[in-house]
Amino acid sequence: MNVALAILWKDLVSEWRSRDRVIAMLLFSTLVAVVFFFALPGLRPEELRALTPGLLWTAYLFASLLGLNRSFALELENDALAGLALAPGNRGWIFLGKATANWVLISIVQILTAGVFALFYRVDLSPALPGLAAVVGLGTVGICAAGTLLAAMAVRTGFREVLLPILLLPALFPILAGAVEGSLAALAGNPVPFNALQLLIVIDGVYLIVAFLGFDYVLDE
Amino acid sequence: MSYMLSAYGITVGVLLFYGLSLARERARRLKATGNPSAG
């Protein structure tokens, strides 16, 4: 448990010092928002507003891929993976620390990205905020759980930037389905449907368990 | 009719091709050394 907190703290502090991941992810999300503008010309404002949950989650997914790719890159560059593997106790705690750090960083980017979308697409997010926050928060837990596990694998194999999306995206489709459904409801001002939340919670639980147990075999060297 | 034939044809063809290429690899190994499990 202390290992997890130690790693969480280390990752957040090193990110605070350099801020490179968060800035890169945010810039990327903003660019994606502009890409959508060019990709979907001639839409009326209400049409664009209807598409917003989907577009927002698309931006979130791609930004997360970017951030997750980099989450082990630092360790790899400094040959610190072996040191990480030697940490005492169950390696699952290392996973938890890393995944939580990813969650914090990605959540920050997501909040700012939502602001960018609200600005570009003239969507008023304030009524939706609690529901949206819950959906995005839950969805991101799943993304970080599966993503941290798979990033740890991808970073040690060839083609790592290409491999992570290939491995991760199929695992994220269920999350995407539930999250967009929930976000749609939240943005329409309705309460988030329970089955969407339930789905996200179930997926999160499953992925957290699989990743916690599997991390032992992934960091094994 | 042609739809159905192509469906069956593709399925049978692919499975046969796959099985035969595996068998050919084993046969090649067998011929090279007289021993099915050596290279």
């Binding site: 596990l149 798979l150 499953v206 | 690899e25 190994r29």
Partner: protein, 271 residues
């Protein structure tokens, strides 16, 4: 130095292992049964009655759903074999996982080819996002990711471990995806009448034979591919030994000796 006894099958970690040797014995009889069954199945399909509403193309019913066995069973085997490999270190089961993944992806691809052909012939569209087709597509992506992971990483123990972990992720994903698509509505164009009771007259037999034949074909091909995999692994082991021998000889200052230590008979290899 050389601890592997290639021809002895009395340990779990020898190549081939006892399990592999035993399974290999089933292959021949399975193959023969398969051959006979194919003929019977072919006759049954040809002589099956033509559906009044869909026409001849309805006969794809006897080949498309049966492919699902291979597609889904393939990944289930890959997933579970991978778990036992992770927990118990059974390399022979890792080889089974590879075999099952390869055969499974072929069955899955064939499903994704015959499905749209049938769809085009009956509903006029090549694709629809209904539950079954979508889940099969997702399964296909998981298969491909698994196989790409293995091929990008080369053949080594770490690859096998990573692949096994991903196999578990994929295993979990399959029911999850079904659950998701069930909940969030599927615009289903799939005929729901595939339960035995509602098949038309004369369709029961070819359908049963189709299931049986393709199931046997799946197991036959998995056994064959498994055997090939253990042969490849043996090649690798012998090559490594051969290189090892050369290295030893060179270090001792001798000439490396016969460059193809791999051509020694396996009995000589065991000292």
């Amino acid at each position: 130095m050389n601890e592997s006894k290639p021809m002895a099958s009395n340990s779990e970690n020898s190549i081939p292992s006892r399990l592999e040797a035993q399974s290999a014995r089933w292959r021949r009889p399975l193959g023969m049964a398969l051959g006979v069954l194919c003929i019977v199945y072919g006759w049954a399909v040809v002589s099956a009655p033509i559906d009044s509403s869909q026409g001849v193309i309805q006969k794809i019913l006897y080949i498309h759903p049966p492919l699902a066995y291979g597609a889904y069973l393939g990944f289930i085997i890959t997933g579970f074999a991978g778990v036992v490999f992770l927990v118990r270190g059974r390399e022979d089961l890792d080889r089974l996982a590879i075999a099952s993944a390869e055969v499974g992806v072929i069955f899955c691809t064939l499903m994704l080819v015959t499905g749209p052909i049938w769809a085009r012939g009956t509903w006029g569209v090549w694709w629809s996002w209904d539950a079954r087709l979508t889940v099969t597509l997702l399964l296909w992506f998981v298969y491909l990711a698994y196989l790409l992971l293995r091929s990008f990483s080369g053949r080594n123990p770490r690859t096998a471990r990573f692949a096994a972990v991903y196999g578990v992720v994929g295993l979990v994903l399959i029911p999850l995806n079904y659950y998701v698509i069930e909940i969030f509505g599927s615009r289903s164009m799939h005929p729901e009448n595939l339960e035995r009771g509602s098949l038309g007259d004369g369709m029961g037999l070819p359908f049963l034979l189709g299931n049986l034949t393709l199931a046997l074909a799946f197991f036959y091909l998995v056994l064959l591919r498994w055997q090939v995999e253990s042969e490849r692994a043996l090649d690798d082991a012998i090559d490594t030994d051969g290189a090892h021998r050369e290295g030893q000889a060179m270090r001792r200052g001798q000439s490396p000796g016969p460059p193809d230590a791999a051509e020694e008979s396996p009995e000589e290899m065991t000292r």
